[in-house]
């Protein structure tokens, strides 16, 4: 793990950490190796889910019950804001002005589409055959699992490998498709009566409208703030409005955030840079809370365990296949390399599943969330083994 990699966690280094004066005291020798310290939470980790989800599970109602159901309901507010923040980050990363970026986006979208299709199709068949009592429409359950499986995280662009660099960018961009399709799935799953796709797509446009309206207000405010503190208030407020307005109507805060992020990138001025810079102040705690809530919301039922193993397997196969197909669009990479870089799932899949579980509070959806969480942890472990570690420098 390189020195840069030490701080390449989701959310970056905590800004308050930097405010403290450096101290000369050292920890006991056995705590010094970075991985040990990371495992103990004393240093940032590359895959925060591995650390914070188990903590959440331990604190949740299923174990110690420190995070009671009432406490979790309060934390729903933070989760709505965290989802909006994730969406904004994906939107800010979606810069399609150069031909190279458009090519990478096409490859990422193709890889994500293949993963969603393969995993959804496999689960549609499997759930139909098993007759598992989830109490959810089989097709939509398969789609939800496919969407959660399609997100990936390639770690950091460490500068040593061209493949890794491209894979990192593709991993950033392959979140767009599941977020957008997830915006439709959320509406369909949350509807009290079966809803046709065209109607749900109409609701997706309303979600985009929320993103555009609140995003425009943010654009008008951010660069006109009189102080950094006031700018922080505006950014926090806009994030809360995006997450709150979308969530209040049963729509996807991720989609609304994505739209706002895109808007800030496209509109003139420095709103995108300002937001990216200031979000670092709040993003880290938000992500931690999101993962802890996800862990605490897990219900380790028989259904969840049964869903988990095929999810890991289908996702691995679909990522390899998707990666292989994406190399046809993006010939910088050799066939088969990309998929292995995309095995680590990151946290967007957990975020999607958590949002679905907040919209549809049934035992079936709790099983889906738990399966996604367990599959994410397994995916991170697999990535440690399968991800290429030594490559020729670019």
């Amino acid at each position: 793990m390189s020195a840069r990699e030490e701080w390449r966690e989701i959310g970056g280094r905590d800004v308050l950490d930097a405010a403290l004066p450096p101290h000369g005291r050292t920890l006991p020798a056995w705590l010094l190796p970075l991985r040990t310290r990371a495992a103990l939470g004393l240093a940032p980790v590359i895959a925060p889910a591995v650390l914070f989800v188990p903590i959440g599970a331990a604190l949740g109602p299923a174990a110690l019950n420190v995070l009671t159901p009432v406490a979790l309901s309060y934390l729903d507010t933070v989760v709505a804001i965290a989802l909006a923040a994730l969406g904004v980050f994906v939107g800010l990363a979606l810069d399609l002005r150069s031909a190279r970026e458009r090519g990478l986006f096409a490859a990422a979208a193709l890889e994500a589409a293949v993963t969603v299709t393969l995993v959804s199709g496999a689960f549609w068949y499997l759930l139909s055959a098993w007759q598992m009592p989830l109490g959810l429409p089989v097709g939509l359950t398969g789609l939800a699992l496919g969407l959660c499986a399609s997100a990936s995280s390639a770690g950091i662009p460490d500068g040593g490998s061209a493949t890794h660099l491209v894979a990192t960018r593709i991993a950033d961009l392959d979140d767009v498709l599941p977020i957008v399709v997830g915006g439709i799935a959320v509406v369909m799953l949350g509807a009290s009566e079966p809803m046709p796709v065209w109607q749900a797509t109409g609701w997706l446009f309303r979600t985009l409208l929320i993103g555009i309206a609140v995003g425009t207000a943010g654009w008008l405010l951010f660069e006109r703030a009189h102080s950094r503190a006031e700018r922080n208030v505006f950014i926090a407020g806009i994030l809360a409005l995006i997450g709150g307005a979308a969530g209040f109507l049963g729509l996807s805060p991720l989609v609304a955030g994505l739209m706002a992020g895109l808007l800030w990138s496209w509109l003139p001025g420095h709103a995108d840079r300002v937001v990216r810079e200031d979000l670092e102040r709040v993003q880290h705690p938000l992500i931690v809370v999101l993962l802890i809530v996800a862990g605490a919301s897990c219900v380790f039922s028989r259904e969840a365990i049964w869903l988990c193993a095929p999810l890991v397997l289908f996702r691995l196969a679909a990522k390899l296949a998707g990666g292989w197909l994406a190399t046809r669009v993006q010939p910088v990479l050799t066939a088969g390399e990309l998929g292995t870089h995309l095995i680590a799932p990151g946290l967007l899949g957990i975020a999607l599943a958590l949002h679905l579980q907040q919209v549809v509070r049934t035992t079936g959806m709790a099983a889906v969330l738990t399966a996604v969480v367990l599959a994410t942890l397994a995916g991170e472990a697999l990535a440690l083994v399968l991800r290429p570690t030594e490559e020729p420098p670019s």
Binding site: A213, T216, G218, A236, A240, G244, R281
Partner: protein, 445 residues
């Protein structure tokens, strides 16, 4: 102009969304919506107030009042309630910041003078108000039929609640004004000390009322309850603060998350154990500042800079939940009591400063920082209402109306005092030796 357009978009979006989803109960996202709306709209209102040379905090409050359920109702009653979710966390964070301001090494030279002034202030005010309420009792709409010891006991109880100050508002005005200097330190010390004394006074007054009215709860665990609330809160906060200081010193990572966790522990766990969250958080900040001064100072600066969203939300929520109905029903009486209180604060503060040997402009301005009333006072009124529902409701209405007045006037007066003392903005530009600027010694004038 652009800000106005942004505000219009935000008000429009919130109004459309809240009306479209009004029939659906969506706790978390509903709270997020209220928070987002309050953060931006209250912040812009605060800026407008600043242009009018008024404290931003008053702007946040006015936004809450104007958009709250008792006025335009853009914030529905449910949203106004949900906004209060932040209250516990905000009080803990604000008190934690106050604790970080108290460095015993810096304060030692003037500690005795501050204690004397605070004690004289509270005792004089309490005695005067008790006497006044006792004499005018038949005209007060609480329980006019009472006579003798019962009437005296209730007058004492009402005096205790009327005397109470708001450490939270005072600290918030200091933080928001980026103020630092002798007046800031004096007011901070006075409100914290008064808060301790008032918990003691309130417990004794309640016990006296129970005895006087022949309540079955009289005599049950008076001392243990007091000890638990005051010393227990400080001890609990000190233990949490000590662990946090050690964490800052030896780990120093993920501090935002840890700070939030500490605030949650102090407010939620503390409240569950019947501790006073304000005292516990104050104790925690105090321990961090005095055990690990370099880390405490750096943490204070960083947290104060990031405290603005918490302040905006806290006061917007307070405004939205201000019961304007109470002001309408007993407003005139509340106005008279508030005026008497204001005069008594000024006179008692002058007497206290003279007895403590403090002189100069700073002690003369201190009374202006003591006018605010908010959460502590409301908490005391709620306790009375819960135990004596037969007349507690009438007393509660009077106190709530007084709080509404003091909450609007207090921050304006304190900010004016800080401006006159030249302390606004000095947190960003500290001057050498400013902490010892209150002249202690025999009064010369």
């Amino acid at each position: 102009m652009m800000r106005l357009i942004a505000l219009a978009i935000i008000v429009g979006t919130t109004a459309v969304v809240s009306s479209a989803g009004a029939d659906v109960a969506r706790g978390g996202p509903g709270t997020a919506l209220a928070i987002g709306f309050a953060l931006i709209a209250a912040s812009l209102t605060g800026e407008l107030f600043e242009r009018l040379r008024l404290p931003r905090i008053s702007g946040y409050l006015m936004f809450g009042v104007a958009c709250g359920p008792y006025a335009s109702a853009i914030l529905t009653p449910a949203m106004a309630r949900e906004l209060q979710v932040i209250n516990g966390l905000a009080i803990a964070l604000i008190a934690f910041i106050a604790g970080l301001e108290i460095n015993f090494v810096r304060l030692r030279p003037q500690l005795r003078a501050m204690l004397t002034m605070g004690a004289v202030l509270v005792v004089l005010m309490w005695l005067s108000l008790t006497l006044l309420f006792f004499v005018t009792w038949p005209w007060l709409p609480v329980a006019p039929e009472l006579t003798g010891p019962a009437r005296f006991a209730l007058a004492g109880l009402l005096a205790t609640v009327t005397v109470s100050f708001s450490p939270t508002v005072s600290i918030a005005v200091i933080t928001e004004s980026r103020a630092r200097g002798p007046l800031t330190e004096l007011v901070l010390a006075l409100v914290v000390l008064a808060d301790l004394m008032l918990i003691l006074l309130f417990t004794l007054s309640m016990e006296t009322v129970r005895f006087a009215l022949g309540s079955s709860q009289a005599g049950h665990g008076l001392l243990s309850g007091l000890a638990w609330e005051i010393f227990g809160s400080f001890a609990f906060g000190s233990v949490v603060g000590a662990f946090f200081a050690l964490y800052l010193r030896y780990v120093g990572r993920e501090i935002t998350v840890m700070l939030l966790a500490v605030s949650v522990v102090l407010s939620q766990v503390g409240a569950a154990l019947a501790f006073e969250p304000l005292l516990a958080a104050l104790g925690a900040g105090l321990v961090v500042e005095n055990i690990a001064p370099p880390e405490g100072d750096a943490l204070r600066v960083a947290v104060e800079r990031g405290a603005l969203p918490v302040l905006v939300l806290f006061f917007a929520a307070a405004g939205a939940n201000l019961h304007l109905g109470a002001l309408a029903s007993v407003g005139l009486l509340a106005l008279v009591v508030a005026a008497v209180r204001l005069v008594l604060i000024r006179l008692s503060a002058q007497a206290g400063a003279r007895l403590a040997g403090l002189h100069g402009e700073v002690p003369a301005l201190a009374w202006m920082g003591l006018v605010s009333q908010a959460g502590v006072t409301l908490g005391l009124a709620i306790l009375i209402l819960a135990e004596f529902p037969e007349w507690g409701g009438r007393l509660y209405a009077l106190i709530v109306a007084m709080i509404a007045l003091h909450e609007m006037v207090g921050p304006i007066l304190f900010r004016a005092a800080l401006v006159r003392a030249g302390e606004v903005g000095r947190m960003d530009h500290p001057q050498p030796g400013e902490h010892l600027a209150v002249a202690a010694g025999p009064a010369t004038s």
